[in-house]
Amino acid sequence: MSRPWITIDGNEAAAYTAFRTNEVIAIYPITPSSAMGELSDQWASEKKPNIWGTTPVVVEMQSEGGAAGAVHGSLQAGALTTTFTSSQGLLLMIPNMYKIAGELTSAVIHVAARSIAAQALSIFGDHQDVMSARSTGFAMLAANSVQEVMDMALIAQASTLEARVPFIHFFDGFRTSHEVAKVQALLDEDMRALLDEDLIIAHRQRALTPDRPVMRGTAQNPDVYFQARETVNPFYQAVPGIVQKYLDRLAERVGRKYQIFEYVGAPDAERIVIVMGSGAETVEETARHLEAQGEKIGVVKVRLYRPFAVDSFIKILPATVKAIAVLDRTKEPGCLGEPLYLDVVAALAETVAGGGCHLKSMPRVIGGRFGLSSKEFTPAMVAGVFNELKSPAPKNHFTIGIRDDVTHTSLDYDESFSIEPDDMVRALFYGLGSDGTVGANKNSVKIIAEETGNCAQGYFVYDSKKAGAVTISHLRFGPRPIRAPYLISSANFVACHQFVFLERYDVLKEAVEGATFLLNSPFGPDEVWNHLPRSLQQQMIDKKIRFFVIDAVDVARKSGMGGRINTIMQTCFFAVSGVLPRDEAIASIKSSIEKTYGKKGEAVVKKNFDAVDMTLANLHEVKLPVSATSSIELKPIVPLEAPDFVQQVTAPIYGGLGDSLPVSLLPVDGTYPTATTQWEKRNIAQEIPVWDPEWCIQCAKCALVCPHAAIRVKVYDPAALADAPPAFLSADWRGNEYKGMKITYQTAAEDCTGCGICVEVCPAKNKRETQFKALNMKPQQPLREQERTNYDFFLKVPDIDRRGIKVETIKGSQLLRPLFEYSGACSGCGETPYLKLVSQLFGDRALVANATGCSSIYGGNLPTTPWAQDQDGRGPAWSNSLFEDCAEFGLGFRLCIDKLNEQACELVQKMSSQIGDDLVTAILNADQTDETGIYDQRERVAALKDKLAAINTFEARRLLSIADYLTRKSVWSIGGDGWAYDIGFGGLDQVMASGRNVNILVLDTEVYSNTGGQASKATPRGAVAKFAAGGKPTGKKDLGLIAMTYGTVYVAQVAMGANDTQVVKAFIEAERYEGPSIIIAYSHCIAHGIDMSKGMDCQKRAVQCGHWPLYRFNPDLKAKGQNPLSLDYHEPKIPVSEYAYNETRYKMLTKSDPEAAAFLMQQAQKDAVERWRYYSALASNVYASGENGSSQ
């Protein structure tokens, strides 16, 4: 029977089997497992059938907890049901998992195993999540490679049906879930052959149905609970045998042999490593390599981890074994050893002590941790572990792959050890997120895997930024199966797709002698050499590099590809790497272009073809000179004036050297300094805005909308210009407040991302030449030095006193220093201008609770944070707890602040005789509703502290420690719509009901942006999103309206691009309101498929068509007899389609399903009209004041 070879990643392999072998699938996005849900949803929308000829129902839930509930219910009602998850998502499923297992329900949960958020969140892979679920009663089956994922998904499904014990089928997040590999696909017949129809019928027979009524979920008492819990034992005892039976059946059909514990190595091995997951592949390959050199070693690969089959485990150990190292990809602080280690020790102890075992004596067993958060696990490390086992007193509870200079757990190893075979192509590609490098490389892997006899592997590393992100692609090709789940450290091909990377990265560090280096260079073959850094030149000479250049940007421009150089660089790779004969490669690329782009129209195919055809003529080999001649040296990663922590910790991380940081340099509790983006200077803008004071009307809209705080405004005394650099621009202040003073709008050229949103919103035209405005985009490179000097000077000009600023105006608000700056958010981000505004208005006294999502990533992903500090060292204190609990987390801040304030007031009162009545009265009665009030209170608190310092009493010391709480603090819970509308809604509702002064800011992009655009309940009707591939059929949830029903919550809905003054007003009112407030802020997003420079215009249209009402609901107005609701928008004046079809998320449906698009747009239009009618009716109600007149 012929089985096709396909090139897919681990997630697709799992979804491939899961979709075909289930009837109901409940999903929720979480990295790195989201793709399994996305593919299932896509296949369901395409009406693909499962192996029984029917399309599974795929439903998105509000959280993983919700998904688990739905899975539990569907299973109880008799459907074959599954879900996919990772990390904290799995933890949210745990309560239901106990139930599902306790009720002996056949089910499989597929897990892309990921780190748990502890001292910090990490999206990368390890086994902390699955290990947290090991007590639930689920069986746990590990897959070590992409092929195994497909196979084990089926084994888990088959086994659970027979065993009745539910399964977690897991594989390593990213390393396996995202590795692209060539695998042999299972056929539907294979699946049908392993899934016993009688067992499926039995599953249905156990279902809850009124036709055969039974009950489950009883409450039991001390008399029987214990015994009932023990009833399941036989089922667990049977699991290993059942799993092995299906593994054997699979082997009979497809030829791939697996065992629940699999031993590979010398039959007389003395040293053994026991490991689970992708690391097992590395250990196996290394062990084979070492064994071939005569070492008596072996490896036990654990596949069925729970139930742990002691007999099967012991049986496979060679009798000769003397020392065992057990590797756990997890961390349990305070434990005696990690779980797999403890299991192995217990298994050996039980067996050996019991006697009758083939092992002569108890081997020495040590345990170690490796690979947390996808930390590299290489053959060199494996060799290091085997080496350690040789020691008479091997280190126990060790770590491998890091340098632990604190508790000295880490093992040393020889980093140069390598087992890469000579006949394998190992290629590294440095690309920019936006240049299409990864997409092209995935394509190359597919071409080579599917059109040659070669095996292929692709793995892709991304950085933490969303704008200007660097990607590194690791591709292997070779004649034999590739079992190398680790990054390439000895490359025989390196491509650098962006010339600027040479300033920042040592791109040839991994290159071996004689390697090929392909560079996209604006400089031709005759001049490129002189533009390379000296260290790179020397390295090229030393390593005898073959050097090729192409000006891919020029070819892209000429062939109509714009900024996408992917096809061009891919063609170059095939042309110079020799992986395929050149003509064959070109034909394959073209055929692949047809496949990939054909559905997007002939014009797109044509321009890609043109690019391929033009490439070879522009690709040149450069002969290396005999010596390095360049005077260009690599610059330090951060400026020398950066603080010590930034120099020692931040800079290495930023420079890609974070792996080298020892334990001692990292904070013990996840606490990091703020205001660190200022040291990055990423220089990613091609063009920057340049101010033209002659035409500027000083409206400050540019500064307000700048997503990166890269346009600043200052008003200052003309005397400050005395030392100004020659090119520094200024103008006279227009208006009365600061008459006689100067104003400057200054661009931070090195921090700007070049989005152009500022120029788009600039209302001032150059009257002599109307193509220009008061801000115009100009190339960054020629201006870089000049503007760096200007910006440095600008920052030194003192900020204007906050007390005199009219903060409620746009112009005034922008004179406040942004304390959220230069984030790594997408260029043109629609969220960050709101955060920046919060930081300007309240940042010096704000605590921010940030839900997980885009804002927590660009806000808190190492190496740097955009949350900054003012000249006095004050600024937002920020933390991310979880995705779901942000509102409650913020409430916790508030409860603490209120309590400490209360305590401080009590102590001030109590100590009034020592403090002085005047100061006490002033402190306790302070009006802190504006900047002057805050300033005065800070002065009083400073005076109080001076006095307290001189008083040596318990109360004085206690009051001194909490005196700052006498100054008003501003608490913000901030997150996206996925949090507020879906997973966090319950908590958000609770906080709104609490009456406490928590300000909730919902950055509503109407989609789960951070995880790649999955639909939320905020997604509007008719918009296409993942999990809503056919266009969202239902309307957007009206969160604001729900909030208003409390009557005691300040509610505002805002859109900066539509009414910026209303935004500022709403933020100030919300913060002043002495109770809960919620601001729902329209945030345009890259996931909308729009021109990001025109994001504010998109916002305007959303309001004009009535999709996004602007309003403020201020409960304080009720006491004045006024209607609390004021509408800040007008009756819709453009059709919804005029707004919607400006955005790809809506428009794409008109191209894929025009009838559905038309129907949904009609409904959306109705929604907008009805919304207007409803809101205008609410706003027109007349309120009467007084006890009996609170209603309309």
Binding site: A469, N1010, V1024, G1089
Partner: protein
């Protein structure tokens, strides 16, 4: 009374044809209403060359942008499989229109360059169009381009299309040729089956508040029929191609005038946009009433009866007519 006429060899029940405009042909319902109101054929809205190229490039850009740039968001949109882009959507619509209507449907291509057209013309033919209108919306703003170059562009495009299709092709022209008569001849030699006179270029306007150039659609008014009226009168009988009058056809009288100078069909747009499809029926009634009152039995009887060839004062369509107008103006002023 016989209102029937023939346009590019296609027999039509009347000379009333809605011209190429989105609002008149983007929805099948509207097209049905026009058929019910008496339309004898419909010219579909134009498939724009730029639309084909731009739409595909735009979708490609936004679906691909920022993909594989961040570990958590490798893509932002689901893969919806095949997209109906550029010609696909248009062709599907044309096929549906053909199914839904009994009257002939004429496709329309609008573009500015040679190359790439052939395919679209063929596809329009395959989708069932009864004829094709080519609209070269071209402003010769390039100083290197001579009048002859511009004329050659029209001829080249037409030649390319005629090689590809068997259905009749009409060229929609602007009035801005140095020698329209000569141009008409060239097009006839290149195989044109008809001329549609004239294209109204949308002239830009200025937004003084925004200091921007803005497109501004002005619906045509009756006086604009004078220009095509003159040229149809001049061309009638001198070319074998069918002649379609468009611009300023606002009532039955304008239809009659156009027929009398030699138009085979009259294309109506602004008037329908102003009043709705039923206006077409009203215009037909006006035509019928006038013909009845003036004892005309058929359109054929009046067609070309006041063309330059047939009228009593041939010079009235040329320079002498200008003199006459001035004189009449002077008389008006003096009065």
């Amino acid at each position: 009374m016989d209102l029937s006429t023939t346009f590019m060899g296609i027999k039509l029940k009347s000379p009333l044809v809605p011209s190429a405009a989105g609002p008149l042909s983007k929805e099948i319902g509207m097209m049905r209403s026009l058929e019910d109101a008496g339309a004898s054929a419909i010219v579909m809205y134009s498939l724009f060359e730029e639309q084909i190229r731009h739409e595909a490039a735009e979708l490609d850009h936004y679906l691909d942008r920022s993909t594989y740039a961040h570990a958590e968001a490798l893509t932002y949109f689901p893969d919806l499989g095949q997209y109906n882009l550029g010609p696909d959507e248009y062709l599907n619509h044309l096929s549906k229109a053909k199914e839904a209507l009994d009257i002939p449907v004429i496709g329309s291509l609008n573009g500015v360059s040679v190359g790439g057209w052939t395919d679209y013309a063929t596809k329009i033919e395959q989708a069932g169009a009864d004829g094709l209108e080519i609209n070269l919306y071209f402003i010769p703003a390039n100083p290197e381009l001579s009048g002859l170059d511009v004329e050659q562009l029209y001829v080249d495009v037409l030649t390319e299309i005629k090689k590809a299709v068997k259905i009749p092709v009409t060229m929609k022209l602007s009035p801005y040729f140095s020698s329209l008569y000569s141009m008409a001849r060239k097009l006839e030699q290149a195989g044109a089956n008809g001329l549609t006179l004239f294209n109204r270029f949308y002239q830009p306007d200025i937004d003084l508040e925004e200091l921007t150039v803005k497109p501004h659609l002005l619906l045509s008014s009756n006086y604009e029929m004078r220009l095509p009226l003159r040229w149809i009168a001049i061309l009638y009988g001198n070319v074998k191609m069918s002649l379609a009058a468009t611009s300023g056809i606002t009532d039955g009288l304008s239809v009659l005038k156009m027929l009398m100078v030699g138009a085979d069909v009259t294309m109506v747009c602004s008037e329908i946009l102003r009043h709705g499809p039923h206006r077409l029926a009203e215009i037909e009634t006006e035509v019928r009433q006038w013909m009845e009152e003036h004892e005309y039995e058929s359109v054929d009887m009046m067609k070309g009866s006041i063309s330059q060839k047939s009228c009593a004062e041939p010079a009235a369509f040329e320079r002498a007519n200008y003199m006459k107008t001035l004189q009449s103006f002077d008389r008006y002023r003096l009065a």
